[in-house]
């Protein structure tokens, strides 16, 4: 099966054709925003890091910013720095070059102030936009899709309707040879052994268990027990019998196929099929990590409703809660609440999600894109010094 996408010099496929302006550091974010203002097709990242970071923390920020630059949804990149930050614009720009796309960098101290930087940046971005406009979509096999999955603002409808329906869609994407990323490691707790058993090899399964052990240790170090008393009395009254059932209700959105790989935050999958990326449960941290890992599209289930979108990728939002859909129609793309009204099966809703993914991949705009919702947040793992 095919969708219509943009072929990149690297051979990868974009679903969008953005010109991306990356502020390498928090103090160049204002200039980056001004450069993209009112330029259709140009987007920037609301990066608040990039200075006074060291070690693995600095590497994670760099990898995430570079990952956005190399993401195939991006046609060309301008990196804007200040000049004295410890994550220089030049370093980010050079790491994006291997993707084969046009990448430039400018620094406020070098150009001579914010106004000149904005003027110069806008000239470069206008050129890039003109080149981007010349590119046309072409048929691309579905196996080139890397679909991120996510849930947030969950309620009882998530485990019964939207996550099972998304799981059915995830299985269809993997069945076509594509890639599905499951994330939010902390949400696996209680069902990690089941995901580990589905791993391609015992080593991959071992990695799943190690991730959970690491998160629990980190939580305990801050005085918190994230395993807690689960399921809670309210869950039991609602019909949830065991912790496995509760966690499966969340992770089922990734579908039922073999777990092929476990990857660290903001790293790209190396193969196809179902992949677990180690991220926090934080909605935007995990979305950002998956996009930095090369995902071109996300499907996000919600019970209570959420406005989330990405600067560079379509985020399709789905709810199984009829009331949430009615109240938040400007944010939610698909309503699968008919599963809970007995009018649609999980399987049929999964097919509808799959069809929406193909339509959005081929250019249909999501609600978040129409609203210009562009959330960006890097999973910070160290102190600023």
């Amino acid at each position: 099966m095919n969708f219509q996408g943009y072929r990149r010099p690297s051979g990868k496929t974009g679903l969008r054709n953005h010109v991306l302006v990356i502020p390498s550091v928090v103090c160049s974010q204002g200039a980056a925003e001004a450069i993209t203002r009112n330029l259709k097709g140009a987007v920037y990242l609301a990066n608040v890091f990039g200075c006074a970071q060291v070690g693995a923390d600095r590497e994670q920020t760099k990898r995430t910013l570079v990952g956005f630059g190399t993401n195939p949804n991006v046609f060309a990149v301008l990196v804007v720095g200040n000049g004295c930050e410890n994550l220089p614009a030049k370093e980010i720009s050079e790491a994006i070059i291997p993707s084969g796309k046009r990448v430039e960098f400018i620094e406020i101290q070098d150009v001579g102030g914010t106004k000149k930087t904005i003027a110069k940046g806008r000239r470069i971005v206008r050129e890039m936009l003109a080149d981007a406009a010349a590119l046309e979509r072409e048929p691309i096999p579905l196996r080139e899709l890397i679909m991120a999955t996510e849930c947030g603002g969950s309620d009882y409808t998530s485990g019964l309707a939207s996550n099972p329906a998304l799981g059915a869609a995830s299985d269809l994407v993997v069945g076509e040879g594509g890639t599905v990323i499951l994330s939010e490691t902390t949400e696996l707790i209680g069902a990690e052994h089941l995901l580990a058993k589905r791993a391609r090899t015992p080593e991959i399964g071992r990695k799943v268990l190690d991730l959970i052990a690491w998160w629990e240790k980190e939580a305990i170090a801050t005085g918190q027990d994230i395993r807690g008393a689960n399921p809670a009395p309210g869950n039991i009254a609602g019909g949830i019998t065991t912790i496995e059932e509760k966690s499966l209700g969340c992770i089922y959105k990734g579908g039922t196929t073999t777990l092929e790989e476990v990857i660290r935050y903001a790293f790209p999958p190396t193969g196809k099929g179902l992949v677990l990326m180690d991220t926090p449960g934080h909605d935007i941290d995990q979305l950002t990590g998956m996009m930095a890992g090369g995902s071109q599209i996300a499907v996000f289930t919600t019970g209570r409703g959420t406005p989330t979108g990405s600067p560079i990728a379509p985020v399709i939002k789905i709810t199984g809660n009829a009331e949430t859909y009615r109240k938040m129609k400007d944010n939610i793309d698909l309503n699968v609440s008919e599963i809970l009204q007995g009018k649609e099966t999980v399987k049929d809703a999964g097919k509808r999600i799959f069809e929406e993914v193909i339509a959005v991949a081929s250019g249909r705009l999501t609600k978040a894109e129409k609203l210009g919702q562009r959330d960006f947040c890097i999973f910070k793992i160290g102190l600023n010094f």
């Binding site: 019964l160 099972p164 395993r227 019909g239 065991t242 496995e244 499966l248 209700g249 007995g342 009018k343």
Partner: protein, 98 residues
């Protein structure tokens, strides 16, 4: 789809389904199980969001939902019977306090 469903079957490997409305004991519910239309007579009242057995489940075996074992039966469960904390335990134990 013909008629209105009263239950959700999530994965075809599952041996339980979930009621999406409160169902009284004695109700006959119709659902498609692995491509076959079946009718199951409920032996217990099933509150909304709770599970019932699609077939007889022996004591000490897995309860399957989402295609995965969510726990082990502590008693024999008949087709149409309520499946919950009174006849199922977690393989992980209850994580109280940890």
């Amino acid at each position: 789809m013909a008629g209105k469903l009263k239950t959700i079957l999530i994965n075809e490997k599952d041996n339980v389904a979930t009621a999406i409305v409160a169902l009284k004991a004695g109700t006959n519910v119709g659902l498609e199980i692995q491509g076959r239309q079946e009718r199951i007579k409920l032996l217990s009242s099933i509150p909304m969001g709770h599970k019932f057995a699609l077939r007889e489940i022996e004591k000490g075996v897995d309860v399957i939902k989402y295609g995965e074992p969510i726990g082990r039966t502590t008693a024999h469960i008949s087709r149409g019977e309520h499946v919950h904390v009174q006849n199922v335990v977690s393989h992980r134990g209850r994580m109280e306090g940890a």
